[in-house]
């Protein structure tokens, strides 16, 4: 009962906090843009600085470090446990939040044990190289729409390059260096196994990661994430928003899975494989390990952000959008949009936690088979089909129709396979598996 009340309170307070945060971010961006103009600099510089602070240093860091607690709490709920509650402030465990401070203190004050046979420079470099790309990825995520705030035209996006998604691919592919270096430089057999697993897995999945988004690029005719978000507000047949997951359902599945593999979390946590090889960071103590762990959580948020921007309508609140746009001021509407974006991002991050705590881990060869034999062909088919449909009809409506059919087929197949009799699916098709057959008395 207490937990139910707590969750209800959370459901009310959390969107309010997001809304307030988004509003503050717009005001700060507008104010700094005005300041920059006053100093004779382009307004975009000021907005970029404000966004850097608000989106990357505040939102990204708080969300990802908060996710470490969220993960512990949510996994506890899934597993009928209570979860972190030993640290209390005035007798209240506060949902485990004080652990944030405790964990940080613990990591920062731990003894710095280093393997004597390490490659000194690379060993120190690896956590930084693992952390930086994950962090930098969020720069291109368009959190909020353009709005005129305090007389300045600003949007909640740190950096809006024309190459957009290509920037995402480029930076994401740098993350592999951190893990590979960590595995190599530790001079530990288990770490090198983890490092090799990580590099092969991440490099493989980059291929399908890239191809899975080509469909979306063609459908929306742009590489820029903010443009994609804008175009998802278009209404198809006058009522259906052209959301990415309707236009590109296959692309969504493929991108989500590939990006999940890039974050190296279960079921793709082979590089870590805590019950087998402990992982590429086995030799890293304290905050150096903390950086690698935090970079995983940052990747979760970034992945959720990119998926939101490309496939879930970006900052469009979707529900009641017309009414909101008509009845709210421009800044208020923009803030609601940004809050909707952040909310969707957190929802997707939560989804990743659920997946991580439900599924077992793949094996090394299976993960490669999944990538090269299933996802890559599927992504290529998606590219060709999308290309043909875009040539046929540039208005997205044909694409959306095909997408709806795809969604129906996917849902149907999933439902059918989960309802198949356990005995029939017990040990592969066409194989009379006799495990539950009984030899009663003999």
């Amino acid at each position: 009962m207490r937990r139910l009340v707590g969750m209800l309170v959370f459901l009310v307070v959390f969107p309010a906090v997001l809304l307030g945060f988004a509003w503050a971010a717009y005001l700060a961006a507008g104010a700094l843009a005005g300041l920059a103009v006053g100093w004779g600099l382009p307004a975009a510089y000021g907005a970029a600085v404000a966004n850097l602070v608000f989106l990357m240093l505040v939102f990204l860091m708080i969300a990802s470090s908060g996710l470490t607690i969220g993960e512990r709490k949510w996994s506890a709920m899934m597993q009928n446990r209570i979860g972190p509650n030993r640290i209390r402030v005035l007798g209240n465990p506060l949902g485990g939040m004080p652990y944030l401070v405790a964990d940080a203190l613990k990591m920062l004050t731990k003894e710095n044990i280093e393997p004597s046979a390490r490659s000194k420079l690379l060993y120190e470099l690896a956590p930084v190289v693992a952390f930086a790309p994950a962090f930098a990825l969020f720069a291109v995520v368009p959190v909020g729409p353009e709005a005129v705030v305090l007389g300045q035209r600003v949007s909640l996006q740190v950096f809006n390059p024309d190459v957009g998604l290509l920037y995402v691919f480029a930076i994401a592919s740098l993350a592999v260096f951190g893990t590979a270096l960590a595995g190599w430089a530790s001079n530990n057999k288990l770490a090198i196994l983890g490092g090799v697993r990580a590099s092969s897995q991440m490099i493989s999945y980059e291929v399908s990661l890239g191809l899975s988004l080509v469909g979306a690029m063609m459908a929306y005719g742009t590489l820029r994430l903010d443009q994609m978000s804008v175009r998802q507000g278009e209404l198809l047949w006058g009522w259906l928003p052209a959301l990415g997951f309707i236009v590109q359902p296959l692309g969504l599945v493929l991108f989500f899975v590939s990006a999940f593999a890039e974050t190296k979390r279960a079921p793709f946590d082979l590089p870590e494989g805590e019950s087998e090889i402990v992982g590429y960071f086995v030799e890293y103590p304290g905050m150096k390990f903390g950086m690698m762990m935090l970079s995983e959580f940052i990747e979760i948020v970034v992945l959720a952000g990119v998926v939101t921007a490309v496939f879930f309508g970006g900052w469009h609140p979707v529900l009641f959008e017309g009414w909101l746009r008509a009845n709210l001021g421009p800044v208020a509407f923009a803030a609601v949009g940004a809050a909707a974006f952040l909310g969707k991002t957190m929802l997707l991050a939560w989804l990743q936690l659920v997946i991580r705590w439900t599924l077992p881990r793949f094996r090394f060869d299976q993960i490669q088979k999944l990538c090269w034999k299933m996802m890559l062909p599927a992504a290529l088919v998606n590219v060709f089909v999308t290309g043909a449909l875009v040539l046929l009809d540039g208005s997205l409506e044909t694409l959306a129709a095909v997408g709806l059919v795809e969604i129906a087929v996917l849902a149907g197949v999933t439902a059918a396979s989960s309802r198949a009799a356990p005995a029939a699916a017990g040990h592969g098709p066409g194989d009379a598996h006799a495990a539950p057959a009984h030899a009663a008395g003999h």
Binding site: S275, P360, R361, R363, F364, Q366, P436
Partner: protein, 415 residues
């Protein structure tokens, strides 16, 4: 000073014809030896697997056991027959009552003791509850080792409920020390049957949840099916017993083959697998939990009030009022504590179906109050010993779940 090349270069010899492999640049790869254990998250207890790896493939392995060796067999020679029971608790510490039962049956074989009906039922109930505990641990650990920690915690929740019931029954969570020569230590506490039935219901619920999470999970099936398969002939040759043997298709269960206690009066099935891979071994455990559940419920039905131990003070401690009130009781108590049960001289091999297979006690008595010699057949050892053969050329990632389905328990394998 520069050397000038002569204008006519020397004619080159014609290139040798290249084979197909000559164009491949050979990678200078080496095999790597890594130590898994003795303290490694996957080696339950402490076991060291010296593994020779070629990339991720296991090319060779040496199982190094003995880190948990306590000298069980030798220690038993220094204590009376009754004092061996706490030692047996520590063999397979996940299902200690089964070891108690096995040892008690072997001693009673030497003494030619017939144990009262109720005591037999109580032994079966405690043993089957512990079988469920053992299988829950294995199934849960399987999930844990494949990265599905949620399944593990469901199993642990169910096991904890079971252990609470065991605590009420015999006063200890882990090391039950419940069985005595000639009977059991205590009768059921009041209300225990209802509580246990409720616990079994909850356990069945959690077991089904685990099954829903794992059994038909695509990743789980891919990870376990066809991995570390042991053929029926190999399983027999290597001396497998228990669920691992039955998973390979050999329907041997001591409870059916040579019924002891009241197993011949109970209606239960013995699941048998076909392929002997990790998936089958996992399914065996899931199905045996269902059967143990059935057995316990039947025992509650079939049990009648009565003695929980033989009324013979040469074997069983007299009740305390008699010890303090009568000279015969005091003498019997003194003799049992100081000299131990006088087991007739001879040899006996008692074997029971423990959670991991046939648990055998080979006892030699010289007619004194202490064992002359005890030999233990640990059910887990043949499986562990066969690991290098089973896992040859498997992937490193398959080692961990295989180690789990063989369910090596350090306490019994390393004695």
């Amino acid at each position: 000073m520069s050397t000038h090349t002569p204008d006519a270069p020397a004619p080159r010899p014609p290139p040798a014809p290249l084979g197909s492999q000559a164009l491949d640049a050979p990678l200078d790869s080496r095999e790597m030896i890594i130590n898994l254990g003795p303290s490694h998250p996957a080696t339950h207890g402490t076991c060291r697997l010296v593994t020779r790896l070629d990339g991720e493939f296991i090319r060779g392995m040496r199982v190094d056991i003995g880190f948990l060796h306590r000298g069980f067999e030798k220690s038993c020679e220094a204590v009376t027959w009754g004092q061996v029971f706490p030692y047996t608790d520590r063999l397979n510490y996940v299902s200690s009552t089964m070891n108690n039962v096995g040892f008690a049956l072997a001693v009673e074989k030497l003494c030619k003791l017939q144990v009262p009906d109720r005591a037999q039922y109580l032994r079966v109930i405690a043993a089957e509850l512990h079988r469920i505990c053992d299988h829950l641990t294995m199934v849960g650990a399987m999930g844990l080792e494949l990265g599905a920690m949620t399944a593990f915690l469901y199993a642990i929740e169910a096991r904890d409920l079971m252990w609470d019931r065991m605590t009420e029954l015999c006063g200890a969570r882990l090391t039950s020390n419940y069985v005595r020569v000639g009977g059991v230590a205590r009768d059921l506490p009041e209300g225990w049957v209802e509580k246990t039935l409720a616990t079994l219901d909850r356990t069945a619920e959690l077991r089904d949840t685990i099954g829903a999470l794992l059994t038909r999970n695509r990743i789980f099936m891919d990870r376990t099916r066809g991995v570390a398969a042991v053929s029926r002939a190999d399983a027999v040759d290597w001396g497998y017993t228990g669920p691992c043997l039955r998973a390979s298709g050999e329907p041997y269960d001591v409870r059916k083959a040579a019924p002891y206690l009241v197993y011949d009066r109970l209606d239960f099935d013995v699941p048998v697998g076909t392929r002997g891979d990790n998936f089958d071994r996992y399914l065996m455990r899931m199905e045996e939990m269902v059967q143990s559940d059935r057995i316990v419920r039947q025992c509650f039905q079939g049990m009648e009030p009565g003695d929980i131990a033989v009324r013979d003070f040469r074997y069983v401690m007299p009740p305390k009022p008699q010890v303090y009130g009568t000279i015969e009781g005091l003498m019997a108590h003194f003799k049992l504590v100081m000299e131990g049960i006088q087991v007739p001289a001879g040899e006996a091999y008692g074997y029971t179906e423990a959670a991991n297979g046939e648990l055998g006690f080979y006892l030699v008595s010289d007619g004194e109050g202490r064992p002359y010699k005890i030999g233990l057949r640990a059910p887990g050892w043949p499986m562990v010993a066969s690991m290098p053969a089973v896992l040859k050329d498997a992937l490193l990632a398959d080692l961990v779940p295989t180690f789990d389905t063989f369910n090596m328990i350090g306490g019994e394998v390393e004695q």
